[in-house]
Structure formats: C-alpha cells, structure tokens
C-alpha cells in the first residue's frame, strides 16, 4: 500500500462511520449542527493523530513492544484517555460554548472504537510515518462523515447551517418558498438514525452496483 492509498482509504473505502460503522454513538448524538460536528472533528482528529503517533512510537522499539504485550490494551487506553482529557480541559477553558454543546461526548472519544481499533490494528504494526498518515486519514474520514450527517440534519431540522459561532447560514426562506416548515424531528436522535440509515443504504446500493459491474466485466472477459 503506497502513501496515497493509505491516505485516501479513510474517506470512502474504509470510512470509519459509513463502512466500518465505528463510533456511531457520538456521531449520532452531536451532529445536530455543523458547528458541533466541526468541533468534534477537531477534537477527534487531534486525539486520533496523537494516539496513533505515540502508540506507533512505543511499538517501534521491539523490546518495549514485547514488554507491554500482555497489557497493551490497558496502555493504549491510558494514553488515549489522557489525550482525550487534555482535549476536554483545553476545550472547556478556551471554547466553553462548544464544550457545553458537545457535553459528555468529548469524554466518550476515549471509548470510541475507531481510536482503539486503529491503535491495535494499524499503529502497533506500522511505522510512525504511516501511522500518522493513517490517523489523519481516519480522522478526516470520520469528520467528513459527521459533517455530511450534520449538514443534512441541521438543514432539514432547523433550516439553518451554523458554520461557527454567529456565522449562521439561514435557509428558512427555501422552506417557506415551497410552503413547508423545517422538521424538528431530524434534530432528535431518532432522526439521526434515519439519516444515517439512509446514507448507509445509498452507499450500499452504489457498492452493489459496482460489484455487479465488475462481475459482468469478468464474465465478458472469460
């Protein structure tokens, strides 16, 4: 796998949320506005890259890796948890508004399966450079997914798109133009499940179509 593939895989092919379905809990809970999604993306990207870096650094020394082999999950969790706590404290101090709206879901990054999953499956087996790229790719892929969900949910549920703070794109005119109102249902968690489910269905449909095509190509080749 070259570096470019390694970087691009997080967006579509191995997208953590849309394909691997990891980390769905915070993704469904905080995607009520684009601002929340962006804040979560930043926090997540920070934790993801740093945890991948540190863990691949630890594992790069063979002796140390053998030493922590029986307790490696505990070590990973300690590292990830302290990174998350640092993010949490920084956010509470410097971005209190965002901290309030993200609430408990910042701390939940700790048990977000993607971080631990990448640490175990990728970072502990690959070089530091690759792991950093993997972290960035996964972080951006996750951000991409939750930003899409939050765009859909906020637009349908509120009629607005909150980019950051007071920078709000008001699209309610679009709704009144066709004579309807926004549907607050989509800002509830049930609406989140619905949006995620529909996106998953669309991605699956596209995938199936691609597979069918490649099968037909193979048949013709034979």
């Amino acid at each position: 796998m070259n570096k470019k593939d390694n970087f691009l895989k997080g967006f579509i092919k191995e997208n953590p949320l849309f394909v691997l379905l990891l980390g769905a809990c915070p993704a469904l809970a905080i995607t009520t506005s684009l601002e929340n999604a962006l804040g979560m993306s930043l926090a997540f990207l920070f934790v993801m890259v740093l945890s991948n870096t540190i863990i691949s650094l630890i594992s790069s020394s063979k002796k140390l890796r053998e030493l922590i082999e029986p307790v490696r999950i505990a070590v990973y969790i300690v590292i990830i948890a302290s990174l998350v706590t640092i993010v949490e404290m920084l956010m509470q101090a410097f971005l209190p508004e965002l901290f309030n709206s993200l609430g408990v879901f910042i701390s939940l990054i700790t048990v977000n399966c993607i971080v631990l999953g990448r640490a175990e499956a990728f970072a502990s087996k690959n070089s530091v450079g690759d792991s950093v790229i993997d972290g960035i790719s996964m972080g951006l892929g996750y951000s991409f997914a939750i930003i899409i969900i939050s765009l859909i949910r906020e637009f349908l549920g509120n009629g607005t798109i909150t980019i950051w703070g007071n920078l709000v794109l008001d699209l309610n005119g679009l709704f009144t133009f066709i004579g309807i109102t926004p549907i607050p249902f989509f800002t509830t968690s049930a609406g989140a499940f619905m949006v995620l489910g529909l996106i998953l269905a669309i991605i699956q449909a596209i995938k199936n179509k691609k597979e069918e095509k490649s099968k037909e190509m193979k048949k013709e080749a034979k």
């Binding site: 549907i183 249902f185 609406g191 529909l198 269905a201």
Partner: protein, 377 residues
C-alpha cells in the same frame, strides 16, 4: 431441532381458485368501504349540510382521500423502477409488478388514520416515509418488517406532534364550542379526576362513540363501521377473525379491572374500546398478513400482547393513543413468534422443549396485565 423455512406472505390457499392477490385486494377495499363512506359522510357531507363551510373547505378531506393512494402507488412504481431496473424492461412489466405490490394501501391507510385537517405536505411526506422507508427499502411487499402505514403514521405523530394534535376537528366540529380538547382520548389523558361526566359527556354519550360522531382521525371514529368491515372480511377469510376479537377483549378485560380499581362503572372499559383507533387498528392493522405472525397460536399471542401493550401505552404511559405504537412494537417480535410457533404447527402438538417458551410468554403477558392494574392502585 430441524430447521423450517418461513417464506414471505401472502399465503394463498389452493382450495379456492378465486383467492388470488387481486381478489384479496378487492375484498380488502370492500371491507374498508363502510369506514371510508362513513368518514366521507362525517367530514365532507355533514359539514356541507350544516352549511358551516364553503364547498372547497369541506372537500379537503375527500381530496386527501383520493390523492394519497394514487401518490403512494406512483411512489411504489418509481421505487420499483429504480430498484429493479433489470427485470422491468417495458411498461407492461411494471404493471405486472404493481399488481402484486398492494401499492395503494400504505397511502390509503395513512390517510385513514390521520387527522382530517392535516396539512397536505405533512401527509405526503409521511406517506413517502411509510412507503419508501417502511416498505420499498426492505424489498417491497412481503419483505417489510414493520407495517408501512404505521411507520408513516408514527413518523407523522412524532415529527409533527403539535400539527397533528391541532388538526383533529373537522370543519363542522371546529365551529362547535363543546369540544375543548382535540379528541376524546387526548382530553382523557389530561384529566385529573376521571368521571363519566368529564370524560364522555362532552362528546355526547357512549352511543355517539359507537356510531362515530366524535372528533378523531378520518376513519377511526366509528366502531360500528369497523365491525361491519370486520364481519365481511372474516367471512371472506381475508383476515383472521380471532385477532381483532382477542385484541379488543384483552383491552376490555384489562381496563375493566382498572375501572374497578378506580371505582368506575362498566362505562370505563367501554369508553376505552370504543374511543380512538382501537377498533380500526384491531380490524385492519393488527391483521396485516405480512408483518403479523403466521400461525394460529402466534396470532393469538400477538393479539393478547397487543391488548396489554395498548393499555400500557395509553393509560399508564404518556401516549394518548397507543394502538399504532403497540402494533409497531409487536411487529418486531413477529419473527420470534413465527420461529417459535412454526415447530408446533409442523409437529401438530406441544413438544417438551417448547413449554418454556409458552411459560415465558404467559409470564410476560400476565406481568404486564397485572402491572397495568397495579399502577392504578
């Protein structure tokens, strides 16, 4: 244990040749006709006679009643075209697919259980959700887990709760001061002390509930029309006659005990089975062939659980209605009940290792039944 395969509904009996899917559809429409005719009379003709509105305002419910099934059918055709592009080569193929798809029913049922004055775009959006998400995404007729009509209605109820609760009165009822709350059940759920006077007398007498001249969704108010439809459909063997009977009987029994605890008379259970969508739901929704269990025993279990769940949601819980929610809840368990009962159906007798399942069911049922009563003590 041997494995048995449960294929998807509908099951046609070879005994009578006429019993094709088209035949079932026509029968179902005939069975629905008393309800539809009464709702047209109540919401369209009656306000016109009384002269409380102009023609356009009165015709609104009729318009929704006509447009919804057509819209639903068009959606189904569109979905079929997108999903099965390969199989559908010509227009004729599409018609053939539509014939076995029952495409009009989600739309028809949703409009029948919606408030008469609901906004058009809300209705159409709910039908879209019910038809596309509830039915076609699962693979079309016979493959869906949840009753598509109830999926759409539940979406409407939870997404637009204020819109829904404010559009129950039809044009005639809107001009009357007598109806303070929206429907009898919504008013009932806000009562502090329950007496016959403040629960029923606002809306007339229990006879009005039986005939259906109380505010409510388009077609659910008339118990009489539902019973007529029930008799026709049972005689034609389109639905299982046991399910509505057991469902309503369970609700009646459970609320009878609750009524005794509260010191109310026989009007209390009668009010509960006559009001809201219980009769309509029991006759037309709980008997839906695809999403309800397929064996005799399974259907009885399903109907009993529906009864206690309806009472739980309606009287103990926070939902004034509860019929749609309980049906959708039991849809989830259809698969389990099917798997359990199919062995018994094939063996023809109660096996030793099937007893625990029955015991578990009875414990859950009795537990809920008693819990409903105890929570009023």
């Amino acid at each position: 244990m041997e494995k048995y395969l449960v294929s998807s509904a509908p099951y046609l009996r070879r005994a009578d040749h006429n019993h094709t899917t088209t035949r079932i559809m026509v029968d179902l429409l005939i069975g629905l006709s008393p309800v539809i005719l009464y709702s047209i009379f109540k919401n369209v003709v009656f306000p016109l006679i009384k002269g409380t509105t102009d023609v356009l305002g009165a015709l609104y419910p009729l318009l929704t009643l006509v447009v919804s099934p057509i819209y639903s059918l068009l959606l189904e055709a569109l979905c079929l075209y997108i999903m099965k592009k390969k199989d559908i080569k010509s227009f004729k193929d599409l018609i053939e697919e539509l014939k076995v798809g029952y495409g009009i029913f989600p739309g028809l049922f949703i409009v029948l259980i919606s408030p008469p004055q609901i906004k058009f775009w809300i209705l159409l959006l709910s039908i879209t959700i019910g038809e596309v998400v509830g039915k076609m995404l699962f693979g079309g007729f016979g493959q869906n887990i949840f009753n598509p009509a109830i999926v759409g209605r539940a979406f409407m109820a939870f997404a637009f709760s204020s819109e829904v609760s404010s559009s129950y009165l039809n044009v005639y009822e809107q001009t009357l001061d007598a109806y303070a709350g929206a429907t009898p059940l919504i008013q009932f759920s806000t009562l502090e002390t329950i007496t016959y006077e403040n629960a029923v007398s606002n809306f007339g007498s229990l006879l009005d509930f039986f005939i259906g001249s109380v505010p409510g969704s388009l077609a659910e108010t008339s118990a009489l029309c539902c019973i007529i439809g029930y008799i026709y459909l049972s005689v034609r063997k389109v639905i299982d006659y046991k399910v509505p009977l057991i469902y309503v009987a369970t609700v009646f029994l459970n609320t009878l005990f609750i009524g005794l605890v509260l010191g109310q008379g026989i009007w209390y259970p009668t009010f509960n089975i006559l009001s809201g969508g219980l009769m309509f739901g029991a006759v037309y929704m709980a008997t839906e062939p695809v999403t309800s269990p397929k064996t005799n025993l399974g259907r009885i279990m399903n109907a009993m659980m529906l009864g206690v769940l309806t009472v739980l949601f309606r009287l103990v819980g926070n939902l004034p209605e509860g019929v749609a929610t309980s049906i959708i809840t039991m849809n989830i368990f259809s698969l389990v009940i099917n798997k359990y009962c199919i062995h018994m159906r094939v063996d023809g007798k109660l096996d030793k290792n099937e007893v625990p399942g029955l015991v578990i069911f009875l414990v859950i049922f009795m537990g809920l039944f008693l819990y409903n009563i105890i929570s009023f003590l």
